[in-house]
């Protein structure tokens, strides 16, 4: 496939690996921010091809994983209401709330539908004027423009039956949080390429300066990731801590200005609770007052839910790179994709699911 296969190619990746092996003299711990990168790393077995002195820890960039339990419970409550069509990306359906998941709501008769775009949810609202259509708007800065656009479209068309349940989060405050933690072990970042296509990477310079960590904006294909690792390790070995851009074919320093405008038209920054990590100041988006008619939390009074969390799961430590999934005593035993104890075992971007599906629970030969 043109422009994809080239980035999954064996000879070029072999060369990059050789360079990384040659260059690495010290022990380094790197964090990839995005769950998409985590999956590519485990899916292609990249971490096992690296020198043993390089440790990759997996970041908080899985929107499904960091969505707070209370929000899932609100989604479950809304989806069970009569006259509601609850729409979501497929990933969110299997994430357990405190009593059930959205799949269960569906099997009990709730109208829960998987959509591929928030604009499909707007279309459903248009076609079903007697139903209230809710879209579960989770994600980082990457999905925020499309979700904002859905609100703008619904507003423009005067749709009264469309709203979004928003749980948007932003990457840079989470990086700050991780780096300022006393248990931090991260020495360099592969920044999330797709977030940067929207936001650019100006925000990272102050982080790199403050904490003396190299940050390399990195793509998602095996070759991107290997090159990103090479760039971070080169900086670390040379004692530099700069912001660099590996993903130049998609990311500009200023990002996508138009998308940023759309985001700030609909959303404003707010303090946000991250599942597993806790509250981070100014780390999320909420819907501006002007668009409050499209804010599902205001349209439906399902508040006052208090959620109880299990203590078995160490999702918080995993999302902050303190532990790896395989270091969790429940991993693969009490916690599996069929019986997940935590969101990272469910989401297609969750680190625990990646470790489980791609077999980091099984000793291998060959």
């Amino acid at each position: 496939m043109k422009y994809v296969d080239e980035y999954r190619e064996g000879i070029a990746s072999g060369k990059l690996l050789e360079l990384i092996h040659k260059l690495t003299r010290h022990e380094w711990t790197l964090m990839e921010i995005c769950g998409g990168q985590t999956h590519a790393i485990v899916k292609y077995g990249i971490d096992e091809l690296l020198p043993s002195s390089i440790t990759l820890v997996h970041g908080p960039g899985c929107p499904v994983c960091v969505t707070p339990l209370e929000i899932i419970d609100k989604a479950v409550a809304m989806a069970g209401l009569k006259d509601v069509i609850f729409t979501s990306f497929g990933d969110m359906l299997r994430v357990p709330g405190s009593t059930k998941d959205l799949f269960t709501v569906k099997s009990e008769g709730g109208d829960v539908r998987i959509v591929y775009s928030p604009l499909d949810a707007v279309r459903l609202a248009r076609e079903n004027p007697n139903k209230k259509v809710v879209f579960f708007a989770v994600g980082f800065e990457t999905t925020a423009p499309a979700n904002a656009m859905a609100v703008i479209t619904a507003h423009r068309e005067g749709l009264r039956n469309f709203s979004i349940l928003s749980s948007h989060v932003c990457v840079p405050p989470a990086m700050n949080k991780i780096l300022s933690s006393p248990s931090n072990r991260v020495q360099g970042f592969l920044a999330a390429g797709h977030v940067c296509t929207v936001m650019g990477y100006d925000e990272y310079f102050s982080i790199a300066d403050k904490y003396h960590v190299p940050i390399v904006v990195t793509g998602f294909e095996p070759l991107d990731i290997l090159q990103g690792i090479l760039m971070v390790v080169t900086q670390l070995e040379e004692g530099r801590y700069e912001v660099e851009n590996q993903y130049r074919r998609a990311v500009k320093r200023k990002g996508n200005i138009h998308a940023q405008k759309v985001i700030s038209e609909v959303f404003e920054l707010t303090d946000r609770k991250w599942r597993g990590i806790g509250e981070i100041p100014l780390s999320g988006y909420r819907i501006r007052e002007k668009y409050s008619a499209f804010d599902a939390e205001k349209v439906f009074q399902v508040g006052g839910l208090t959620a109880s969390e299990s203590t078995m799961c160490i999702a918080g430590l995993i999302l902050q790179g303190v532990k790896k999934p395989s270091q969790c005593p429940a991993f693969g035993k009490l916690c599996t994709p069929e019986n997940p104890l935590g969101a990272p075992m469910v989401s297609s971007e969750g680190a625990c699911a990646a470790y489980y599906h791609y077999g980091r629970r099984i000793p291998r030969s060959n």
Partner: protein
């Protein structure tokens, strides 16, 4: 990775587990792990008998001195018409292939219809013509049938069930337990075409593609192979759940390891692009006219030669082998040389694909 103890007191936030679903989810019909759970915990327990518990594509048993293969399958595909076929073709080919995978020559089929009130007669005729066309191509006869109609809204246009019987070829013994370390694994052609053709016309997802379903009867190809060698250890058609699920089933049933090489798996460029776009792994996307065939190394060239000269096996390729490690598990060498386990799907990647 170290085995240091984890301090759970600092572990944060996770929900209580949902250990057992109280109702059936769509994923229970997806062919993955939840389907397997259902089969093992309910059907096998209740219907407990030795023929069923072999969990092959069809049942194989003797009546008098004749070895019979018997199989049944229901079709709920949505939409009922798709590029390359319709629910009727699919229903015939599916059962024909299940019988063929037992090393049998399929002979007679039954067809049962559950029709939703309001279905256009014209659409029913197209489905029935599809059945007739597929039966003629496979060389089987439809010898009995049934029709039921349910209220509008209580079904989805039409569901079709087929059952079939065939006679197992003399001297042929195909079952997972025959798989041996060192055996080679062959796939008969390009994977993931059926699933992608369905998705391309699925409501809300329509995208432009020329990918057609690969629905086809494999019995003639199987017959040609068995005519040349009976030394075949295992055959399976990787339908729902795709290549990955079938290989996992074989690895588990035979208690062997399966090792495959990503680079050697045939796949169409357009299918690959569509999978990329939809976020699907083609290893898990359904096929309806492909077979996995596990043979001793001595038979590889003979079998490949036959396959390459048959229209349904033109792109056949060796994709891996049976190994004496990681028992019950499929491991794949990735394009860049790393290793990963190819797991069984938990739920469904695509609901109602057949």
């Amino acid at each position: 990775m170290s085995d240091e103890p984890v301090d759970l007191s600092t572990g944060l936030s996770c929900p209580l587990p949902i250990s057992e679903y109280k109702r059936i989810l769509l994923a229970h019909g997806g062919g993955g792990r939840l389907t397997n759970q259902l089969i093992k915990s309910i059907f096998l327990t209740v219907f407990n008998n030795s023929i069923l518990s072999s969990l092959h594509d069809g049942a194989v048993f003797d009546i008098g001195s004749t070895r019979i293969a018997y199989s049944t399958d229901s079709y709920v595909v949505n939409p009922i018409f798709f590029p390359g076929g319709n629910i009727g073709d699919l229903a015939v080919n599916g059962t024909v292939n299940d019988l063929a995978m037992c090393g049998a020559d399929p002979l007679y089929l039954s067809v049962g219809f559950i029709i939703e009130e309001g279905l256009l007669i014209e659409d029913l005729v197209r489905v029935v013509e599809g059945i007739e066309r597929a039966a003629r191509r496979a060389g089987v006869s439809i010898v009995t049938g049934d029709t039921k109609v349910v209220d509008r809204g209580k079904g989805d246009k039409i569901y079709v069930n087929t059952s079939g019987i065939g006679i197992v070829f003399e001297g042929v013994d195909i079952k997972p337990q025959n798989v041996r370390v060192g055996d080679k694994i062959i796939i008969s052609g390009k994977i993931a075409q059926h699933g992608i053709s369905i998705m391309s016309v699925r409501e809300g997802l329509e995208f432009g593609t020329t990918v057609e379903s690969d629905t086809a009867p494999l019995n003639h190809l199987v017959k040609s192979i068995l005519r040349v060698t009976k030394n075949i250890h295992m055959m399976r058609d990787p339908t729902r759940g795709g290549l990955a699920s079938s290989l996992n089933e074989i690895a588990e049933a035979a208690n062997v390891g399966i090792f495959i090489i990503e680079r050697s798996i045939p796949i169409d460029e357009e299918v690959k692009s569509a999978c990329e776009l939809l976020g699907f792994d083609p290893l898990y996307v359904a096929n309806e006219g492909k077979m996995i065939i596990v043979v001793p190394p001595s038979e590889v060239d003979i079998v490949l030669n036959i396959m390459h000269n048959h229209p349904l096996g033109r792109d056949a390729a060796v994709i891996g082998e049976v190994v004496d490690s990681h028992h019950g598990t499929v491991v794949m060498k990735t394009r860049i040389g790393g290793m990963r386990v190819v797991d069984m799907l938990t739920g469904e990647q695509l609901p109602r694909i057949c």
